[in-house]
């Protein structure tokens, strides 16, 4: 088709194919067409504002149909199907991006203004009735509870993965592997219920809520992640290193401590950071096990303790007189939380990239 219209010389390599760039033109064209339709609807008074999401979405669907028809006419049925699937997959990608971009934009737009106010990181919520107030109590709670959870779960997780890789044979190892898989699937709220029930029985107080209870709940969620990731990393250590160490007469435990773990330490640290990033945003178990409060509480073992995710939730769920103050604080906390989690993730990846052993592949 192109060859016919572009001149007398027929290029056998390009005949029967859509011209290069036509896909993009069709995509932009269909976005423009649907955008125009929505603009007419807007001028006719159907909608108040221009529906950007709607026009992108429907435009992409129109593109899927158009590209199939065009390709079917020019290139035949097989190529048309290929192009249809390609465009559908691109559509799936765009559909995914829409909510995620919207989410990030909303959090930044609603949270940034409140987050950079000085009161946000210098005040707690004690005796706050106006628009001020901040997250100091929640920040302290999150730091203490996450640190306690890490202190509980890192030794257990690391030693268990050493057992599974270096010692574990037979039934016990198989049982542990299976149960670690089961633990990975525990819903976070069930972990919270467990910690609550545990401490209710231990203390004899059916309403007991404290930071340590939340830390236990988070540790239940964190242990399987730490075990899984460190196990993978320990398995990557080449057997030659262990054998060389044994051949020099080094005992097994020193081989593990001085050869195996140092070789894989970057991967292990990465796994731990990812696990921390995963549990630091958990809301449900902390809501149940650690409770919530408006005051600073440094004591892990008594009285409810506020944490960042729970703060974001309670500020939204229990709005007071000036609802917008509460919602603003909630968004600002959400933004802080996302930034913390992303920072932890990035650091983990950097560690993995910089320090990972170079195993030629």
């Amino acid at each position: 088709m192109t060859a016919v219209t572009s001149g007398p010389i027929v290029n056998s390599l390009t005949t029967g194919k859509l011209p290069r760039g036509s896909v993009w033109m069709v995509l932009i064209g269909s976005w423009a067409i649907v955008g125009l339709v929505f603009m007419f609807v807007q001028f006719a008074g159907g909608t108040k504002t221009f529906n950007l999401v709607g026009s992108l979405f429907l435009g992409t669907i129109l593109f899927d149909i158009l590209i199939w028809v065009l390709s079917y006419l020019v290139e035949g049925v097989r190529k048309a199907k290929d192009r249809l699937v390609t465009s559908l997959i691109a559509t799936a990608f765009i559909i995914t991006l829409l909510p995620l971009v919207s989410l990030l934009y909303t959090v930044v737009a609603n949270g940034l203004g409140r987050m950079i106010e000085p009161s946000f990181f210098t005040e707690s919520m004690r005796n706050i009735v106006d628009a001020s107030g901040g997250v100091v109590h929640a920040l302290i709670g999150t730091l203490e509870i996450t640190a306690a959870a890490a202190i509980i779960s890192i030794p257990i997780g690391l030693l268990t993965s050493v057992y599974l890789v270096e010692y574990g044979r037979g039934n016990l190892a198989r049982a542990i592997t299976f149960l670690v898989d089961v633990m990975t699937g525990i819903p976070s709220i069930v972990a919270g219920l467990f910690a609550f029930a545990l401490f209710a029985l231990l203390t004899g107080n059916p309403g007991f809520r404290a930071g340590i209870s939340g830390a236990v709940a988070l540790a239940v969620l964190m242990i399987p992640i730490v075990v899984r990731s460190s196990e993978e990393m320990l398995k990557l250590v080449p057997n030659e290193l262990r054998e060389a160490s044994f051949a020099l007469g080094v005992p097994k435990w020193l081989t593990i401590l001085k050869v195996v773990i140092p070789t894989s330490i970057a991967g292990i640290v990465t796994g731990v950071m990812l696990a921390v990033a995963r549990v630091i945003g958990e809301t449900a178990p902390l809501l149940i096990a650690a409770g919530f409060t408006a005051s600073v509480n440094y004591d892990l073992f008594a009285n409810p303790m506020m944490t960042m995710p729970v703060f974001a939730y309670t500020q939204y769920a229990q709005q007071g007189a000036h609802a917008s103050d509460f919602v603003n604080r909630s968004w600002a906390t959400a933004l802080t939380l996302i930034l913390v989690v992303m920072l932890l993730n990035l650091i983990a990846r950097l560690i993995a990239r910089i320090f990972s052993p170079k195993l030629g592949r």
Partner: protein, 313 residues
């Protein structure tokens, strides 16, 4: 390693070895103990609710199963709706990243998807209730007026948009990153030779994917879907924030009378519950634990079968 049992020289047992290996065994056993403790403590707290006399449970339920039934329905219904949306899209996105996008962009996209997996669930909940629900409500009205003859879209449309369908969309968005990540890894493991053989025989890219990639990856896709399903079943905060619940078993997607999920119910009721009501919540948590356990067991089974038959190793 290679010496037979008859010529084995017993190694000298050192104190350090003893201590170290024992401590690793203890750590492993703690995991067994923790899981047993989870089950035991939940059961202890749950028993009073399971054997409760009629009329003592909350919501006027006759017995425990009457109480937990609607919640189980809501949990599975919301998760199923989320999976219907999330599975095809996550396969598409994973294929996009693994086989369609240019190599350099693909790596960046992979990182972005991984980072999004780490967005806390409470943030998704806030976004769902403050952005998605109001934005999508006019669309629900349109669906109800034009497609109301389909039973799913019938009933009285919710004025706030906080319906089970909104919850399902939020859940789908939440499980997309993790499912995409798993699918992507599996698509990338497809043997290069299979793909090149298909292309060499003249297959288009889609035919190559259909004949080489998808058959290889099918068990992996199933296990990714199961992983996502487990997440969606246990997800709490997004449901608790977004849904406006009622104690109904209803297939209507757009009304303000929505079935509640187990996790959402626990989060909303827990701070006010006491006595038998508290036991009932713990018991419903136990039911949720059992459901997710079954889902994970199925996923494990599928993955282990894959290991046996895959040609890659």
């Amino acid at each position: 390693m290679t010496t037979g049992p008859e010529d084995k020289i017993p190694a000298r047992t050192r104190l350090g070895d003893r201590v170290f290996s024992t401590s690793t065994i203890v750590a492993g056993s703690i995991i067994l103990a923790v899981l047993a403790a989870v089950a035991i403590f939940l059961v202890i707290q749950a028993i009073p609710a399971i054997v409760a006399k009629p009329g003592t449970l909350p919501n006027g339920a006759a017995n425990f199963w009457d109480y937990v039934g609607p919640l189980v329905f809501g949990t599975i219904w919301a998760a199923a709706l989320a999976m219907i949306m999330a599975v095809p899209i996550s396969i598409g996105v994973a294929l996009f990243i693994s086989h369609y996008a240019p190599r350099r962009i693909a790596q960046v996209l992979g990182y972005i998807v991984d980072l999004l997996a780490a967005v806390p669930s409470v943030v998704f909940g806030l976004w769902g209730v403050q952005v998605l629900a109001p934005a999508i409500q006019p669309f629900y009205v349109w669906l109800n007026t034009n497609l109301g003859w389909i039973p799913l879209f019938g009933g009285e449309t919710s004025g706030t948009g906080r319906t089970i369908l909104t919850v399902a969309i939020v859940l789908a968005v939440m499980v997309l990153p993790i499912m995409t990540a798993v699918c992507r890894e599996i698509f990338l493991q497809t043997p290069r030779l299979h793909e090149e053989a298909a292309l060499a025989l003249g297959a288009t890219r889609w035919e190559m994917i259909k004949t080489a990639v998808l058959p290889f990856a099918r068990p992996g896709i199933v296990s990714a879907a199961m992983l996502g399903l487990g997440r969606a079943l246990g997800e709490t905060m997004a449901v608790a924030i977004v849904l406006s619940p009622a104690l109904v078993v209803s297939f209507f997607l757009l009304t303000s009378q929505n079935p509640e999920t187990i996790a959402g119910n626990i989060a909303l009721q827990f701070s006010e519950a006491s006595g038998i009501g508290l036991n009932a919540l713990v018991a419903s948590g136990l039911v949720l634990f059992v459901i997710t356990f079954i889902v994970n067991a199925v996923a494990r089974f599928v993955v282990s079968r894959r290991r046996a038959f895959s040609g890659a190793n």
